[in-house]
């Protein structure tokens, strides 16, 4: 067994173990942390496959941004476990059916008859100066430039759509004008009034 294989089995073990722990943990915050660990293991396996750009992107996008928002939401929610469990038996048959369909589909698509060792050969090792990111960029910006730009436009539309969804009824929104706040002068807020003190003769 070579050192690469040992690393592969270690990372695979952590990948599977943390994924299972994610599903079975009862605490939502712990589940998110196990999901992060499984992302890390997946990234490590990709690095073993010389796909370091994809691996770093996985960590940057999913671990660095998406899962932060997940944790953010979980902290704000006060999850009541009893209401979640109340309809468990009612939903169980449907859940099992969906799970069975997903398993069958995934075995058909990703199983041995599609990606078996006799169909897909092991990728060849590249030389030390092989640059994964250069190769990827060459493909992305020459051959696949239109699909790439289309994907970018799609994301932009998604951003605009989500912003317009939360920005309905413009009239009722309360907002501060920061430039007004910054430019405020002392004379706008404080009025100095000179009061003449009555002299002794008036008394």
């Amino acid at each position: 067994m070579t050192f690469d294989q040992i690393l592969f089995y270690v990372f695979s073990f952590w990948f599977i173990a943390s994924s299972l722990a994610m599903i079975f943990s009862r605490n939502a915050a712990k589940a998110v942390l196990f999901l992060i660990l499984s992302f890390f293991s997946a990234a490590s396996i990709w690095i073993l496959l010389e796909a370091e750009f994809l691996a770093i992107t996985l960590i940057l996008v999913y671990v660095g941004a998406v899962m932060v928002l997940f944790l953010f939401v979980i902290k704000m929610l006060n999850i009541d476990k009893s209401t979640l469990r109340a309809k468990f038996t009612g939903y169980l048959p449907l859940g099992l059916l969906v799970a069975a369909i997903i398993i069958v589909e995934m075995t058909l698509v990703l199983g041995g008859n599609q990606f078996g060792l006799d169909i897909v050969t092991a990728p060849a090792r590249h030389a030390a100066d092989y640059s994964n990111i250069t190769v990827l960029a060459m493909q992305l910006y020459t051959v696949y430039v239109y699909p790439f730009e289309l994907a970018a436009v799609l994301l932009l539309i998604a951003i605009i759509a989500s912003i317009t969804l939360v920005q309905r009824n413009e009239l009722n929104r309360k907002k501060q004008s920061i430039s007004e706040q910054v430019n405020v002068q002392a004379k706008d807020r404080v009025r100095l009034v000179s009061i003449t003190t009555p002299s002794k003769e008036d008394k």
């Binding site: 050192f3 040992i6 915050a29 960590i59 932060v68 501060q176």
Partner: protein
């Protein structure tokens, strides 16, 4: 360098298991220790420098009791923190409570693996080292979020909520600001970025990317939770933010992580915009040969010290920002500026303006 090469070969000869993989790991471990110990010392004396500098700026003396001129103060602080009791809040989630400081310090140190200190002096020469810095740097936020959540206390939770939203927004700004550097250098390898700035002060990227440099420095202040953007701690509003429930060594670990991140951001600013290990006298006829004997790492550390001093200067000068104003600064001021500057840099690259392209 020759000595080091022969040492590496010796280790490989002594430990030939797994085609030398064990020996490689051992070499990396030695390099990591050689990096982390000086880093921790710098962190310790950076806290001393901070107290002294801010002290003098506020017409005080600062620490001067322990050792000559207070030089042993950081060591006394470290001893005090190590011997203090660690208090666990009764209703805290103990595992996550202890995991949080580890998650804060681990990325703060791991990022240093790809920082080049001189030509050929680094722990790892990654092809995508800039992306690695951004990716691992973004993990540090988990330490703060978990600390806030696991403490099961009001103020830490508020601090964690603030930090999560702040860090996510400013990571985007930092990413965009560094895209301009990558566009000019044509590489995401930190070594290549420094090598592309060879040839004197005029060749460094702070001239074509001047606004990006300022945006990067301010965003670095936010990312490291430093004044005037330290709303995560914000002692006047939310007591001590995420650190409220932490004491003794658990607090010290957060402290170490914060300062290691500050130094990292200073080094990154130097590598990106100020020519890394290159001498500022390059290209000037007489002075260049006069300073040719100075090793590159000295220049790097000198420039970094300047940025570290800027951190302290800024802290002693500005009052704290309001939270919503920081958010506005990120999304409505910095982000449009960075996007505009990406187009400016694209134009400059096409027209080949200046010595940078």
């Amino acid at each position: 360098m020759v000595l080091w090469q022969s040492f590496v070969e010796l280790v490989h000869e002594l430990i030939p298991w797994f085609d030398g993989s064990i020996a490689t790991i051992l070499i990396i471990l030695i390099k990591a220790i050689a990096l982390v110990i000086p880093l921790m010392l710098v962190v310790a004396y950076f806290t001393y420098a901070e107290r002294k500098v801010i002290g003098y700026m506020q017409l005080r003396i600062g620490p001067n009791r322990v050792g000559p001129k207070g030089w042993l103060q950081p060591i006394a602080d470290a001893l005090k923190l190590m011997t203090k009791e660690i208090i666990f809040p009764t209703k805290a989630n103990i595992y996550l409570f202890l995991l949080a400081p580890i998650l804060a310090i681990a990325p703060a140190i791991a990022v240093w693996a790809v920082i080049p200190f001189d030509e050929g002096i680094y722990v790892a020469n990654l092809d995508i080292s800039l992306l690695y810095v951004l990716a691992i740097g973004s993990i540090g936020v988990y330490g703060i979020i978990l600390a806030g959540w696991a403490s099961n206390s009001k103020y830490p939770l508020l601090g964690a909520l603030r930090s999560a939203s702040l860090l996510v927004s400013y990571e985007i700004v930092i990413g965009f600001a560094l895209v301009t550097v990558v566009m000019i250098a044509g590489s995401v390898n930190l070594n290549d970025i420094v090598m592309a700035q060879k040839g004197g002060v005029m060749h460094w990227y702070w001239i074509p990317l001047f606004p990006m440099m300022i945006i990067f420095f301010i965003s670095a202040l936010v990312e490291t939770n430093r004044a005037p953007f330290d709303v995560v701690e914000g002692e006047s509003e939310i007591v001590g933010g995420t650190h409220v429930e932490y004491s003794g060594m658990t607090f010290a670990v957060f402290f170490l992580a914060e300062y290691a991140n500050m130094i990292l951001m200073a080094v990154l600013a130097v590598i990106m915009f100020f020519g890394g290990w290159h001498s500022p006298f390059e290209g000037i006829p007489v002075v260049e040969s006069m300073f040719a004997w100075v090793p590159g790492i000295v220049w790097l550390l000198a420039k970094t010290s300047f940025f570290m001093f800027l951190y302290l200067w800024v802290r002693a000068t500005f009052p704290r920002f309001r939270y919503d104003q920081i958010m506005r600064l990120s999304w409505k001021v910095f982000l449009p500026w960075t996007i505009v500057w990406i187009f400016v840099v694209a134009l400059m690259t096409q027209l080949k303006i200046g010595p940078w392209f």
